[in-house]
Amino acid sequence: MTPSLRSLPLFPALLLLLALLQPRPAAAGFDTVLNTWAENVTDFFEELIEPLTGPIVQSPSQPRAPASNSNDPFWRYLADAGYEVASIETDIGLIPNVKVTLQILRELSEADRTALERTLLIDDQRDPGLIPALQRQIVHTLLEASQSGEMRVSKLAISLFPIPSADFTMTPAQGPFSAQNTLSTSKSDKRKPAVEPAEPPKTAPKTVGE
């Protein structure tokens, strides 16, 4: 095959690209939809990352809040789900990338899970926008994944560019490779109460009506 013939299949793609890029009045409706969608996606990324990095266009007077004290609902959900930000990777280039890695800090009790589900349920009613709904969906997925009895999502990586994705790393809930053991080896163990359980009950609770 000659070089001119080899490049032949690229022509349709080139034509399509030119057709899409060429500004024409007839394509205005499509452009609007495309732009709205692009704005939504960009807003989603910005809202997601801003509490951690601060505004992308920095204002000198803008105070920068640490991630742990963030009031952004998404990061609050993740904190309530027992995760904290472990690292943020940013790549600057032709295709920029931002990857936020979260690691599990504590496993949820049934009441913790129910409380978070209730919060998501309430926010579903109060804030039905696209971006908050997407954020809540990530947390819902995380909660569902964490309900598996034998495995646990020990690490969550959220990549923003070029294609948004959430990677869930699941590890056994019990055993040497569990997240609990990994945390125990990396942190000092302050989990035990300093004081032994209290002495036997002085007075049993009085019951009325029995």
Binding site: R106, A115, S184, R191, A194, T203, P205, K206, V208
Partner: protein, 397 residues
């Protein structure tokens, strides 16, 4: 003419083609009858003992006409606070259908769910009236005991109300204050130590200097377990020392184990709230109790509600979820006890009960549940509950 007609008639009857058609029709009718009469199992694990061969009910969402049930009376267990609601539903059911009086054993949500999940058969209850959600551990126990298809239907919202005797000081409370007041051990300067708090002032700077005393419903009630979830666990959720503990099994007891030095007492929960009124009548200022909202509404002439996180448990605040301590009121149904298409099953009336509670005249804004203190669900959620009833959709915690 007549004789010729009869001949043609006899010729048709005697012809082989007609006989074959008749034979085919008879065979088809036979198989159709067999198919209708044979129940299709709705549950996957049929019990080994044929004498207890229940659990095949509910294949169809329409009630069968025939009735070959093992027990006559519906058996309802669960929360005492839901007795008036359940009584009213039963009254409506018995007005609409010819049903024997159901058996009610409303001694607590947790106890009710335990009995409900014990197995399939006439010796086990059919319905739970629950003021708290069935946990995944409870559902797992159900599954282990062959109670495979549990259906959850929410009928409205309730809430936990913190009350005190009329005339006693009314002050704002939070979940954190209850944790600080009632937990057996709390972190003090980074270490867990025996709870020294004696006054509400010790638990929050803006609280009054009144002695801490709390009257709680007895264990195994939904109100008590809701209190542990919404007050004790919520109160310790963002405590730094607690958040450091990875395992929920270690963390939860630290949050929910109550002091044993007389700072709280228990009262048996009833639908009338009499025990709580009696206990509070002799109480000193600072004594508070925890009641379900629908019980509180019956005794609100004697008790005052305290705001939780600055919000009072009014109907509007509960409906909008502004009041944090809301809870869904639910019924759990055992699909395995429903009658199958041939009318065989444990009991008659489960589907009728389900249909009754999702009627607009029951759970809409102007329904009779609202008159009993239940805060109605939004129209969208009501439609979701109707769909659950229509499709007999299984419960997933």
């Amino acid at each position: 003419m007549t004789g010729g007609g009869e001949n043609r008639y006899f010729r048709r009857v005697a012809s082989g083609a007609t006989a074959r058609w008749a034979a085919h029709l008879a065979i088809l009718t036979f198989f159709a009858c067999c198919a209708i009469a044979t129940p299709t199992p709705a549950q996957q694990n049929a019990p080994a003992n044929p004498s207890q061969d229940f659990g095949h009910g509910g294949e169809s969402t329409t009630a069968p006409n025939a009735d070959f049930t093992a027990r006559e009376h519906l058996w309802i267990v669960g929360a005492a606070s839901m007795q008036p609601i359940t009584d009213t539903i039963v009254a409506h059911l018995m007005y609409d259908y010819v049903l024997p009086q159901p058996m009610l054993e409303l001694k607590g949500t947790r106890a009710g769910i335990k009995a409900f999940c014990a197995g399939i058969g006439p010796q086990y209850p059919d319905i739970v009236a629950a003021s708290d959600r069935m946990t995944s551990a409870e559902l797992n126990r159900c599954v282990r005991n062959d109670v495979l298809d549990v259906i959850e239907v929410s009928i409205g919202l309730s809430s936990l109300v913190v009350v005190t005797k009329k005339g006693n000081p009314v002050f704002n409370v939070t979940a954190s204050m209850f944790y600080q007041a009632l937990a057996e051990q709390i972190p003090i300067e980074g270490e867990f130590a025996a709870n020294p708090h004696k006054s509400w002032k010790d638990t929050a700077t803006d609280a009054p200097d009144l002695p801490v005393h709390v009257i709680l419903p007895t264990r195994r009630t939904g109100t008590r377990s809701s209190f542990e979830d919404h007050f004790m666990q919520a109160g310790c959720r963002h405590v730094k020392e607690i958040d450091k503990i990875f395992a929920a099994a270690e963390r939860v007891p630290l949050c929910t184990t109550l002091r044993k030095d007389g700072v709280f007492s228990e009262a048996v929960e009833t639908a009338t709230g009499d025990n709580f009124v009696a206990a509070l009548a002799q109480s000193v200022p600072g004594t508070v109790a925890i009641l379900p909202r629908e019980v509180f509404l019956r005794v609100q002439d004697k008790l005052d509600a305290l705001p939780v996180a600055g919000v009072l448990p009014t109907k509007a605040n509960v409906a909008d979820f502004n009041y944090e301590m809301f809870e869904f009121l639910r019924y759990y149904f055992k699909r395995g006890h429903m009658r199958d298409t041939s009318g065989h099953g444990v009991v008659r009336g489960i589907r009728e009960f389900m249909a009754e509670i999702v009627k607009d005249e029951a759970f809409a804004e102007s329904g009779y549940f609202a008159g009993l203190g239940v805060v109605p669900l939004t129209p969208e959620w009501r439609e979701t509950q109707r769909k659950i009833v229509r499709r007999l959709k299984g419960f997933q915690p």
